[in-house]
């Protein structure tokens, strides 16, 4: 991984919309007076959600003024954490887990599908600019590996075909159903339970 730089094309201005503003004020109010700067991470996330999954420089400036802190401090935080996107990622942001359990279960096939359907390189927008993908570290759903995350939802128990179907759908602007693609409910074992069978509600 290398240093993430802010995108070249930056919007002129940024402002919280009504709902973001309400949420931001709610978070700032949690901190004691004079310590509002503690809210910077939450506010960056709110800005990212409002602005199609990425944070423009204008938003960092806006947040710095909002919390009365130096621009560079907000910039430091935004460049430190990898989950803040500093350049556009499209309406659908696909994160494919390639950490060991997923890798063993064939995460590379998912990456192949992404390369075919979305773009040759990771962190690159698709031709219609609606979508991009990147490899990430463990997303904590090893039990349903391999998996990927699209915006806020997990898509689990995938293989190359199923991934391609999902990607086709999002490229058409549809939102596919999240969850396991082998029919599992949450993290239950396949083919019924094998332990604690004598307990009814376990």
């Amino acid at each position: 991984m290398s240093l993430r730089k802010p995108a070249k094309d930056q919007p002129e201005s940024f402002e919280f919309n009504a709902s973001s503003l309400e949420e931001a004020n709610h978070i700032v109010a949690k901190y004691p007076k004079g310590k509002q700067q503690s809210a910077v991470m939450a506010l960056l996330y709110i800005a990212q959600r409002q602005n199609n999954n990425w944070i423009p420089l204008a938003a960092m400036k806006y947040i710095a003024k909002f919390l009365d802190m130096p621009y560079i401090k907000v910039y430091e935080v935004a460049t430190f954490y990898t989950m803040y996107n500093l350049s556009p990622v499209g309406k659908y942001f696909v994160q494919v887990c390639t950490t060991t359990p997923c890798m063993i279960r064939g995460a590379n096939k998912l990456v192949e599908a992404c390369k075919e359907k979305i773009s040759e390189n990771e962190c690159e927008l698709s031709s219609d600019k609606s979508c991009s993908w990147m490899e990430v570290e463990c997303l904590g759903a090893c039990v349903t590996a391999p998996m990927m995350q699209i915006n806020d939802d997990y898509y689990e128990d995938l293989d190359k075909e199923k991934t391609s179907e999902i990607l086709d759908k999002i490229l058409n602007g549809e939102t596919p159903k999240p969850g396991s693609y082998r029919g599992r409910i949450n993290n239950e074992p396949e083919n019924n339970r094998k332990t604690l069978t004598d307990l009814k509600n376990a």
Binding site: M1, S2, L3, L57, P70, I72, K73, Y75, T79, F80
Partner: protein, 676 residues
């Protein structure tokens, strides 16, 4: 007091100190990169690891508070192994470019790798390469060399008060940069060059100029402002290559302003190197003998009331004193003046023109009131102290005017002198606050003293503070912030005339001979006066002169300067004046000898002792104050702070190319609107 052991030596330290400070007290040197006495503790370089009894791992001594009964070991094999390990990590990504690095020879990393470095690298991968950053015209960056100590970031945030530097990214990709790579908006910015323990931030104007061991080092005094910062002038041959701060806790701590540091290239340009005589509007080279002859005949053929002398802002006290003696004894007139404007000074007592609370006193003050001054530009180092006071004690600061960003928050009033009147008359909220404050400070700038009502304001402010019993043996709340290095020294020597207004007389062309000693700030339209200019640089004064006497700059002659607190300090000769130029006192002495066949002083020693004697006598006797041309009435005025352009405030700075670049960078930032 805490008792602990360092290498079996017993030490006692105050509570709140760190293990590193305790080790220093025991005389044990601890290697460090990120730790700095004047900055907050970061603890991220790990070089200061020491062994502590009962701790399974070595501890970072800079961040560990000293505690009772600690047993610290710094000379064990564990410590050495740990430090070697840290050093190996630091060197893993550090380029091997010491031969082409400006820091070479005075580099902390280089020095410490001599003790803890491993001769072979186990790092087979490619070294990290980091793009250079733009940090303005003074700081050259070579960020590949950076070891992420964050001293520069902490300096900018804490001392300079411009939080523009930061560390972006993380881990191996961490980079130090200014926000969007703009130049740093601080007058203290170049101190990060000294702070940088490696060659990541080096001095741009000094790039590849010299190696530290080739330079002759002279410890002397700065004259760019009235603070009198202690500096070290490094010269190569006769050229001043660079200026560095030296530590004086009472004055500049460890910092100097960018002007102090970088105006020194002005000493190489626009110099007057030989006497000149103006014939038909054109300057022609002349010999000393010729110019002395002309001056002699002119002075002899002019009545003494028609002769006037003006002493400039960078003139040392010896020159001012011998000039005064020359006028008193040879010309026999007291038409001399060191002010370049009409400002009120009550010389009856020395405390009337000094910064009485002292610079150290700022840290004790609990209320600071700025009247007609912008300390950020008039006295940068002093401003840093006010900021320090604000950070440590949350001192309340009030300014009569809104002076923009002073690097600390302050309350600004309306800028009308009637507000001061209200304060004096107990009709303002601040009157109560001054009364209840234990150590209030009122800092009066030269802009206020230039007002028509300045006598009224100054005298009544003093009375007001007297009434409230604010003057005590250890606290004097009334401060005058002088702007120029020579100001206080000249007042001490009595180089001013309160009987007649020489500036007005000069402007109405009443004089026939005008003798300027390094005085370039007089705005007068020359008519038929015969102007003699003695100074180091060809500027406004030399331009209107009929005769030019080439003198020396502050680095080229020994000379005393009194700083705004009244501390007398000696500047030492670091190099030689160019060409035929002479030391200033010598010129006057020779001129006097030429006129009367008798030197004023046999040698410089005699001049010193005579001057110091005069100062002693002056401080003992209270002179009769005569200030008839100042009215004591009051009518409201709008106080406007007039400050000279920071980067061009004197002839040396005006001749400096670096200062021009600084000014351009500032203008550029303003015009693109990316500032603030």
């Amino acid at each position: 007091m805490l008792k602990l052991k360092v290498n079996d030596i017993d030490v006692e330290v105050e509570e709140g100190l760190t293990v590193l400070q305790a080790c220093e007290k025991a005389g044990v040197e601890i290697p460090r990169f990120c730790y700095h006495e004047k900055l907050s503790i970061a603890g991220n370089c790990r070089m200061c690891l020491v062994e502590m009894e009962k701790s399974p791992k070595p501890i970072a001594s800079c961040a560990m508070p000293a505690a009772e009964g600690m047993n610290i070991k710094t000379n064990t094999s564990l410590v050495e192994k740990a430090r070697k390990g840290v050093m190996e990590f630091l060197l893993a990504n550090h380029p091997l470019d010491c031969p082409v690095c400006d820091q070479g020879g005075e580099c902390d990393l280089q020095d410490q790798s001599m003790f803890y470095g491993v001769d072979k690298s186990r790092f087979k991968e490619n070294k990290r390469a980091v793009p250079e950053k733009n940090m303005g015209p003074l700081i050259k960056t070579q960020m590949t060399r950076c070891i992420h100590c964050t001293r520069c970031v902490r300096f900018a945030t804490e001392v300079a008060g411009v939080p523009e530097l930061g560390a972006i990214g993380r881990g191996e990709d961490m980079q130090i940069t200014t926000y969007l790579e703009q130049s740093m908006q601080s007058e203290l910015s170049a101190n990060v060059v000294d702070l940088c323990p490696v060659g990541a931030l080096t001095s741009k104007p000094y790039v590849f100029e010299a190696r530290p061991w080739e330079l002759k080092k002279t410890e002397t005094i700065d004259v760019m402002d009235a603070i009198g910062s202690n500096i070290r002038v490094d010269t190569y041959d006769w050229e001043v290559k660079r200026v560095l701060p030296i530590i004086n806790e009472d004055i500049n701590e460890e910092w100097i302003s960018d002007k102090t540091r970088y105006a020194c290239d002005g000493l190489l340009h626009q110099r007057l190197d030989t006497p000149y005589i103006k014939y038909n509007g054109k300057f022609e080279k002349a010999s000393w003998l010729e110019v002395y002859k002309i001056i002699k005949s002119k002075l002899e053929n002019t009545s003494k009331e028609k002769v006037s002398g003006f002493v400039g802002d960078l003139t040392n006290m010896e020159t001012a004193y011998i000039f005064k003696e020359f006028f008193d004894r040879t010309v026999e007139t007291d038409n001399y003046e060191s002010r370049s404007d009409n400002r009120y000074i009550n010389t009856s007592k020395r405390e009337n023109y000094l910064f009485n609370s002292t610079i150290n006193g700022i840290e004790e003050a609990d209320l600071i009131l700025l009247l007609g001054t912008n300390p950020r530009y008039e006295a940068t180092i002093l401003n840093a102290r006010i900021r320090k006071s604000y950070l440590n004690n949350n001192t309340k600061i009030v300014s009569l005017n809104d002076c923009g960003d002073l690097t600390y928050p302050y309350e600004s009033l309306d800028g009308q002198t009637k507000t001061i009147k209200e304060i004096i008359e107990d009709a303002h909220i601040l009157s109560k606050e001054i009364e209840s404050a234990k150590k209030p400070m009122i800092i009066i700038g030269e802009s206020l003293l230039r007002l028509e009502n300045s006598k009224y304001l100054f005298d009544n402010l003093k009375d007001f503070l007297n009434k409230k019993n604010k003057f005590s043996d250890d606290w004097n709340p009334l401060n005058i912030l002088s702007c120029d290095a020579a100001t206080v020294g000249n007042f001490d020597l009595g180089v001013l005339n309160n009987k007649i207004n020489l500036i007005e007389d000069l402007k109405s062309n009443k004089f026939e001979i005008v003798f300027l000693i390094g005085q370039d700030n007089l705005n007068f339209v020359k008519k038929n006066e015969f102007v003699i200019y003695q100074g180091s640089h060809g500027d406004k004064g030399a331009e209107c002169a009929d005769i030019i006497l080439p003198g020396s700059a502050y680095t080229e002659q020994d000379g005393y300067y009194t700083n705004l607190e009244g501390k007398i300090q000696k500047a030492f000769k670091a190099s030689y004046p160019p060409g035929d130029a002479k030391e200033d006192w010598q010129i006057i002495n020779e001129l006097a000898e030429f006129m009367n066949n008798r030197k004023l002083f046999n040698d410089k020693e005699e001049l010193y002792s005579s001057m110091l004697n005069y100062l002693k006598l002056q401080s003992e006797k209270q002179t009769e104050h005569n200030n008839n041309n100042w009215n004591s009435d009051f009518n409201n005025e709008n106080l406007k702070i007039e400050i000279k352009d920071y980067y061009f405030s004197n002839v040396v700075a005006k001749s400096s190319k670096t200062m021009i670049k600084c000014n351009n960078a500032k203008m550029n930032l303003k015009s693109t609107g990316t500032e603030g």
